[in-house]
C-alpha cells in the first residue's frame, strides 16, 4: 500500500522529504503502517480532525469490502466448491507467512549469536501460547536494560 500512498501524497499534500519523514515516524509507532501514514499526513495538514478523517478514509474501503465478503462467507462457507478451494488455499497461506521469516532475518540482524531470541519467542508464543503482548513488553524492558549496560561500558 505504501508505494500507492507515495504516488498519491507526494506532490499533492507532502514533499518527498516530508513523506520520508512521515513513513519513518509511522514505522516507529505500533499499529498498522498504512493507517499511521494516513494519520500523520492528516495531522500535518489539518491537525486532529485531519488525522481522524485521513484514518477513516484509509480504513473505509477495506472495511466495506471485507464486510461484503463476510456476508458472502456466511452464506457459502458450507458450499462444497468453496470448501475445496480453501482446502488448497490454507497450506499456501502458511507458506506465505513463512517467507517473511527468512526474508526479514537478515535485515533484523539475525545471526548465530542472536537467533536464540527468535527461537525463544516463536516457541513461547507457539507452544506455550504466551501472549505476544507480554513478549513485546519483556523485549522492551530487556532492550532498556541491555542498552544501559552498553552505555555504562
Amino acid at each position: 500500500m505504501l508505494p500507492l500512498m507515495e504516488q498519491e501524497l507526494v506532490g499533492t499534500y507532502l514533499s518527498k522529504e516530508d513523506f520520508l519523514d512521515v513513513t519513518a515516524v509511522a514505522q516507529s509507532a505500533p499499529g498498522i503502517m498504512a493507517i499511521n501514514v494516513a494519520i500523520l499526513t492528516g495531522y500535518r495538514l489539518h491537525k486532529v480532525p485531519g488525522a481522524v478523517f485521513a484514518a477513516c478514509g484509509a480504513a473505509l474501503p477495506s472495511f466495506v469490502i471485507i464486510l461484503l465478503i463476510a456476508l458472502f462467507f456466511q452464506k457459502f462457507a458450507e458450499n462444497p466448491v468453496v470448501h475445496r478451494v480453501f482446502m488448497g488455499v490454507r497450506p499456501a497461506v502458511v507458506a506465505l507467512i513463512m517467507v517473511p521469516v527468512f526474508n526479514l532475518a537478515k535485515s533484523a540482524g539475525v545471526t548465530l549469536k542472536t537467533v536464540w531470541v527468535c527461537v525463544a519467542v516463536a516457541v513461547a508464543v507457539w507452544l506455550f501460547q504466551i501472549s505476544p503482548v507480554y513478549v513485546v513488553l519483556i523485549a522492551i524492558c530487556c532492550g532498556l536494560l541491555l542498552g544501559r549496560k552498553e552505555r555504562a561500558k
Binding site: I97, S131, V136, G143, L144
Partner: protein, 171 residues
C-alpha cells in the same frame, strides 16, 4: 458484553503490535483464536488468505472480519476503530518522541526486530495444524507455495489463486 470485549482486545492489539501485518497475525491468532475463540484456526486462515488478495491493510481486514463474526456489523465497526485508535492517540501526542526513541534506545529496537521475526515464525507454526493440513497433499502444496514465493519471487495473489485451483483439482 461482546462489544466491550471486542474494543479492548483490538485496542490492545493496536497498542502493542510492532512489526507490521505479518507480526500482527501472531497477535490476532493469540487473542482471537486461542483466547476468545471467536474464530477457528481454519476460519482464521481463510480470512488471512482473503486479506492477502483484497486491497488494503491486512490489519484492517482482519479486524473487520473478526469483529463481524463475533458481533455483526457493529462489532466490525468497533473492532476496526479500536485497532486504529492507539496509533491515532500515540502519533498525535508523541509522534516525534516515538521516532526519537530509535536514536535514544537503539538496543530496544534491535531486540524488537528480532522479536518480530520470532512472532512471524510463531504465527506460521500455530497455523500448522490438522485444520489446515488435511493430508500429505496439503504439505506438498505448502512446500510448493513456499518455493514459488521465496525462490521464484511470485506474488502472493498469484500463488493463492493457483493454490485455489489446485484445491479444486485435488480435493
Amino acid at each position: 458484553m461482546i462489544y466491550l470485549k471486542l474494543f479492548f482486545t483490538f485496542f490492545k492489539i493496536g497498542l502493542f503490535n510492532f512489526g507490521g501485518g505479518y507480526a500482527m497475525i501472531s497477535f490476532l491468532q493469540n487473542e482471537v483464536v486461542a483466547k476468545q475463540a471467536w474464530l477457528s484456526t481454519s476460519q482464521f486462515t481463510d480470512i488471512v488468505a482473503v486479506s492477502q488478495v483484497t486491497p488494503g491493510p491486512v490489519g484492517i481486514n482482519l479486524a473487520t472480519y473478526t469483529g463481524y463474526t463475533a458481533g455483526g456489523t457493529l462489532g466490525a465497526l468497533i473492532a476496526t476503530v479500536a485497532v486504529c485508535l492507539p496509533s491515532l492517540i500515540l502519533l498525535i501526542l508523541a509522534g516525534k518522541y516515538l521516532f526519537a526513541t530509535r536514536e535514544k534506545f537503539p538496543v530496544v529496537w534491535r531486540v524488537l526486530r528480532l522479536v518480530v521475526v520470532g512472532l512471524i515464525a510463531a504465527a506460521a507454526l500455530t497455523l500448522c495444524n490438522g485444520e489446515n493440513f488435511a493430508d500429505y497433499k496439503s504439505v506438498l502444496l505448502c512446500a510448493g507455495a513456499f518455493l514459488a514465493v521465496w525462490k521464484f519471487k511470485r506474488g502472493p495473489v498469484t500463488v493463492l489463486f493457483l493454490s485455489a485451483a489446485l484445491g479444486l483439482l485435488l480435493y
